[in-house]
Point group: C2
Chain length 330, copies 2
């Protein structure tokens, strides 16, 4: 059995990124800052209206796996692509980053998933995701040597959108726990939380999940509260270890009655927020699986998130290992 | 007949861009700074060795067309993609930039061309191009309404690599001249010049081409001289209007005995030189087709080239029209 630091499970998506103004979002009924699920027809319509774009591998948990590997951690990924050009690009990029990726590609339709991401002048990203081949991820894609070999198995809440991935996750979590490993998830998106609130709470309260990543709006959506403090108190009870990211306010870690405040990275120009949460999780989990103190884990998360929002796209363009060393976190 | 400012003809290529160190180029026998032509087998081999990449539409003349459109000029493009995902991306991006692009895609193999571009820490790009569908561009792809309707028909020297594109170019040039239009070309690459030196000189001396874009090493290759001054003297005789770009030394325009020196744009960080020459041509031709003085045309070229090397990839990510206004060149 190979040992891994982090196994990530998520939708395998190629991002198609273009800039637009705020009016474009309004005119096209795109919820700003959210992940909007779209079908094939709307994907075609929006692509026809989209400006010149660049393509990069993406997908929340895939970005996290790439980030962990860039820090020098040993990462693996489960996710479903099709046997097509975008699938080739996806598989190339994640393997070239050093992530173990062996999920069998689909040999027929639907095609590899893509997300059209519109970046407004304020740097905020609004995603429009066609799930494509991701709908075929299922229990047969769980590789037990990896769930048992990984210190942390991490999955995205977005996996509740395709029909059978949640079954895969429950199996993977059972295998991980049977091997005395930990399981983590991200709540992914406030609207995703709204779709699956009860199931996410059940995952947390049943301790199917040990560690939960959330941003402020996802946590507020989870508990249907406008109060950050009320949300945090509830979160504290429901997670063994909870992490709440707050953009320019940094992040907060809670474990029982313990609370740790983490400062954000000071940044220059905010270019594109795509991947901020994913890379925070990468930095945190890299530190966590290396046995670093929680404050260091949070600082590594802030570093990776702060760097990724100063570039276009969610995959690190420079070695995070070197960046961590430069920031005294190596 | 629709009027166009610039019709560009070139290889329609999707760029796959990744960073590497200089050792990688040496180990893989890639000529630094050059366009290396590769076959399908070598494309697979190099892609297997390439790090995580991003994809963007590219191709020299296609980049120039996109640049002209970004300045607000009316541009058209001839180039051959296949009916596949990368071809869809290429067609989308150039049309979304506002360029008229109606070349029929191939409905069978080979696939859309791609160039694996390795960017070293000094910002220099080294290209590895698999021509794919580009080999099928031929006289049947010349749209006479566009050759006659465009103030300048501009093509890349790279078109001498595929077998039948040169026939298309001669037909397009004849049609353009018959309509009292001008014809321009870029020498593209010093090794390309070496492959087709006599043919390029014939194009110039027969006045099949009126305006020639070159960089310093291409001009030296053309005349097989190490002397910039000797090359420039010969160039002056062979071109009606000659433009020689010299990276951080700016550029030189020659027309008969007239010589105009153009300053480069002062830049911050050099990120990636991909597209520098293509965007210089875009700025120059935009000014030229709007009837601006040659010094302004050169300044617009310097502006566009200087901006493109401060980002990854050869397609402008911001409106060059706005940038020109900000720099007092609008």
């Amino acid at each position: 059995m190979t040992d891994y630091d982090v196994l990530c499970v998520g939708n395998a998506i190629v991002d198609i990124i273009a800039r637009c103004d705020d009016d474009f979002l309004v005119d096209n009924h795109i919820i700003k800052g959210a992940m909007n699920l779209i079908d094939a027809d709307r994907a075609k319509l929006l692509y026809d209206r989209m400006g010149p774009a660049i393509e990069t591998s993406g997908g929340s948990a895939g970005n996290t796996a790439a980030g962990v590997a860039s820090f020098g951690g040993k990462a693996a990924f489960f996710g479903k692509v099709a046997n097509d050009s975008l699938g080739d690009i996806y598989a190339h990029d994640i393997r070239a980053q050093g992530v173990a990726f062996d999920t069998k590609p689909l040999t027929q339709d639907p095609p590899t998933a893509r997300s059209m991401i519109f970046v407004t002048p304020d740097g905020e990203r609004s995603m429009n995701t066609y799930l494509g081949a991701c709908v075929e991820l299922g229990p047969e894609d769980v590789e037990e040597d990896k769930t048992k070999g990984a210190r942390v198995t991490y999955f995205e809440g977005y996996l509740w959108d395709p029909p059978r991935a949640k079954e895969a996750i429950r199996i993977a979590a059972d295998q991980a726990h049977a091997a005395d490993r930990e399981v983590a998830m991200t709540l992914s998106d406030p609207f995703c939380v709204d779709r699956y609130r009860e199931e996410f709470l059940e995952l947390m309260r049943s301790r199917t999940v040990d560690i939960v990543f959330s941003n402020e709006s996802e946590m507020k959506s989870l508990y249907q509260t406008a109060s950050f403090e009320a949300g945090l108190d509830a979160f504290r009870k429901d997670c063994r270890l909870g992490i709440v990211t707050r953009s320019e306010k940094g992040s907060v870690l809670v474990r029982g009655q313990e609370t740790i405040q983490i400062e954000p990275l000071e940044i220059g120009e905010l270019v594109d927020t795509t991947g901020a949460g994913d890379l925070y999780a990468a930095g945190f989990l890299h530190g966590y699986t290396k046995g670093r103190p929680l404050a260091d884990c949070g600082a590594l998360g802030s570093l990776a998130a702060g760097l990724i929002i100063q570039q276009i796209g969610p995959r690190p363009q420079h070695s995070l290992k070197e960046k961590a060393q430069q920031h005294g976190l190596g």
